[in-house]
Symmetry: C2
Subunit: 500 residues, 2 copies
């Protein structure tokens, strides 16, 4: 509160800007446990709004929520070979269940007598324990599909962490479904890609490219992984969500079988899919500016902050009364509004505070405004050429506010789309690619021969990876003919970028 230092400009050091924004907008902070974060109310309310919107979409597409245990027996995780290989190096392991006084010194230690026979893994993801449960629930094709989701915390021990983007513990949703046929499961993975995309674009105002991951970037245990990739303002890509076609890999390991209509016993087909608190990082890096966070109105904890301005006690009474009237009128229109009554901050300091926190619209009310029956609206962002401040008669202003919020939402998406378009390149020459990657970054569409060698070479030489093999609507009209790397025949168009 009242921290008036300027943020490091994005152009100077994007990474420092990001950290400062997260801390000073009071979205989150580091916790004393390495790699864990504390999500503060401003950040958590944003996450709650995201959850609500996603959850409604999941339910509208036939999913229900459930809850599965935090602890998974080690033997479960070990059952699917690629799965355990993918997660073995980042697992928090519970080995004891009791503390005793240290017999050899001070303090408390895990009681050796409480050592578990089998260590428990704190879930990094829940495929194993969930498909084990499904195997008990499913006998017949009539018990399928199972379409469940859970909102949960997961732990992947990380050496290098960044608030929201990569933390040892994070919050997410993980959907897990079981189907009678491969086709139905495939359809489910794509339905979810559609759900995620509409959420990211319509709610977060964050445009994405969708497509399939290459084999090297697949989820450990999946046959195919579909991903949604967004481009941040520093021109690095962010994997914003994934949807996995798991085939029968887990159903075979967990004996998830059903009797088909034909009478035969078959293994079910599974999908899993998730997005996490990482999306908060994506939102910040998509819309934030040198003044702070910029929240899309549909997700902002407060869409409007009313700032009453006064000097004398008489003025205070009058402007507060007006501020409360404005707030309650807007609440009647389902606008999320807050009146900032703090009396130990100047109006200017309040303006900066809410700008840093990303509130889309500010309403200023001073004694003169009350007299003139006007309100001052100040938008956090405007389309090009528009004034930030508007002086409107009270009635006109109240009527305009919901429309202004919609405009801001639209402007954010348009601006982000334009930025993505301007930073998406089609390249055919490897030298040009590496030069442009270093100079400006962005998404690079180019041909790929399909070989892991070429993929690895790019990664080793440039740190760029294939983000996705893009879905048809994102592909070039004329497919690339040659592989960007080896100049052999291109079997795919790929999108390369450096990524978070």
């Amino acid at each position: 509160m009242g921290d008036d230092r300027k943020l490091t400009p994005r152009a100077e050091d994007f990474s420092n800007w990001y950290n400062e924004v997260v801390l000073r907008a009071e979205l989150a902070e580091h916790s004393p446990v390495r790699g864990s974060m504390i999500i503060r109310p401003w950040g958590y309310t944003l996450w709650e709004n995201m959850q609500r919107a996603l959850d409604d979409k999941f339910k509208a597409t036939g999913h229900q929520n459930a809850y599965f245990p935090l602890f998974i027996p080690l033997s479960f995780i070990a059952r699917e070979a690629k799965h355990v290989e993918g997660f073995a190096k980042e697992m928090a392991l519970v080995t004891h269940t009791r503390l005793i006084a240290n017999p050899d010194g001070e303090g408390l230690i895990p009681d050796p007598a409480s050592k578990l026979e089998e260590p428990l893994v704190v879930r990094p993801t829940s495929e194993t324990i969930i498909y084990d449960a499904y195997s008990r629930w499913v006998q017949s094709y009539r018990d399928l599909p199972i379409l469940l989701n859970q909102w949960a915390n997961v732990v992947r021990w990380e050496m290098r962490t960044r608030l929201f983007l990569r933390t040892s513990e994070f919050l997410w949703q993980e959907g897990h479904t079981a189907h009678a046929t491969s086709e139905e499961a495939e359809r489910e993975t794509l339905t979810i890609v559609g759900v995620y995309r509409s959420f990211m674009e319509d709610w977060m105002a964050m445009p994405v490219i969708t497509g399939q991951k290459t084999e090297s970037e697949r989820f450990p245990g999946a046959d195919r992984t579909y991903a949604l990739e967004a481009l941040m303002q520093d021109n690095k890509a962010l994997q914003a969500g994934t949807s996995h076609m798991l085939g029968q890999n887990f159903s075979r390991q967990f004996d998830l079988k059903f009797q088909a209509e034909s009478g035969d016993w078959e293994y079910a087909w599974n999908t899993s899919w998730g997005v996490s608190t990482r999306l908060v990082g994506g939102l910040i890096m998509t819309h934030g500016d040198d003044s702070g966070v910029v929240m899309p109105p549909k997700l902002a904890p407060y869409q409007v902050v009313v700032t009453p301005i006064w000097k004398t006690e008489d003025q205070k009474t009058v402007v507060l009364e007006k501020a409360e009237f404005v707030a309650s009128t807007l609440r009647g229109e389902r606008v999320r509004v807050h009146v900032d009554q703090r009396d130990n901050m100047s109006p200017g300091a309040k303006f900066w505070d809410w700008e840093r926190k990303g509130v889309p619209l500010r309403v200023e009310i001073g004694p003169k405004d009350v007299e003139k029956q006007q309100l001052v609206l100040a938008r956090r962002v405007t389309a090009e050429g528009q004034d930030r401040k508007e002086f409107l008669g009270e009635v006109a202003a109240l009527a305009a506010i919901p429309e202004r919020l919609l405009e801001i939402q639209r402007t954010l998406l348009e601006t982000a789309r334009r930025r993505q378009r301007e930073n998406t390149h089609r390249v055919t020459d490897y030298g040009e690619f590496t030069r442009m990657l270093d100079e400006r970054g962005g998404f690079f569409f180019a041909g790929w021969c399909g070989s892991a060698e070429c993929e690895t070479r790019v990664k080793e030489e440039t740190k760029a990876t294939i983000r996705v093999l893009p879905d048809e609507e994102f592909r070039s009209e004329t497919p690339p003919e040659r592989c960007l790397v080896c100049e052999g025949e291109a079997t795919h168009e790929a999108v390369w970028a450096r990524a978070y």
Copy 2:
């Protein structure tokens, strides 16, 4: 599905009845990890509805949500002496962060090289890590109060577990507040008791007695613990929620200080409060009957299930169309309604299925009903003397349904209140108390001299404990004069019961 076996009657074996109900209503089941449970969609949706109602109440009383880490450094937990003593014997401890191939045999083991310098405790409750954070956030009295809540999973390693009632991992909310004065903190603890009580009575239809815990039953680290106690159908008490006045015990250990208006530095005053998935168990044991669960309409995942009945395909078309019309009309009235279209179950089997799951109201629609333009309403519970089934003209039926749901909600609360009243006893003689406790159980109001000795004696001899020293509105008009146990002067009226 289609499990038509009768449940063990409550009168025969309440404990078996409870387990069967939970499993066969598909509320929850045991997981492969000892003491953990899987909350199935039917149980989880109930919990979501409870969460939503509580969360709205928390926000209406000025609280916001946040999220704090799952892992707590051992040194934090150890700082408040009574706190660690209370939880040391039931802590899941994370000691390693990586798996490697077992060099001495098969499988995977925790990598000794990944051993943490300091073990991490999987949070049994979050006072320590939260007040540590508050100590960084608070400088001045202007930063107070802090009124936060988090929805989270916690782990307390339990030897004897029961679905919902006592599990090693459970879901809960924990509120944590910091205040400038003792009075304000005290007011907060009581505000929350009020919030919990109105939720339990108005939403769960579960009457409670409120009051203070005795010293021996206090939360480890609290100055005072307020509790809400409900009486289950087997006449055992259930502690349904607690609200703790923590005084300055944690603020002293975590250096949570602020500069008061006077300029002096003072320690803040804390409160914490929580309810958990245990409430689901309370709901079941309050309202369930020998046919299964009974859900209060305000919390039921489905308030109405429409069961179309047909023999021929022509009939099917007609009744399904009517069923969809009824459902969409009710949805327009914000009724949560489901049409059971399953074609592999008889109508009777469907009736039993939804009765076991506790759906408050069933609408039956057969071809005759469509012809007569009538609907059959069947209530899960009725007030005494009422018929369960009603045959009403379609328009009248649709208009009646919201009112019937309100009636059912009222009937459940009235029935539970009457049962509680009939099983609440005022005793003065220890022999009579122990005999009645064994014969019928219930709440026993009696005098207490205030000594831990008398409290312990009762516990050892009868397994009954003092549930609360009841708040004024629950106390007898004439205060008891003598201690039930030692017959010394009574300083308090106490409520004894055997408890879950």
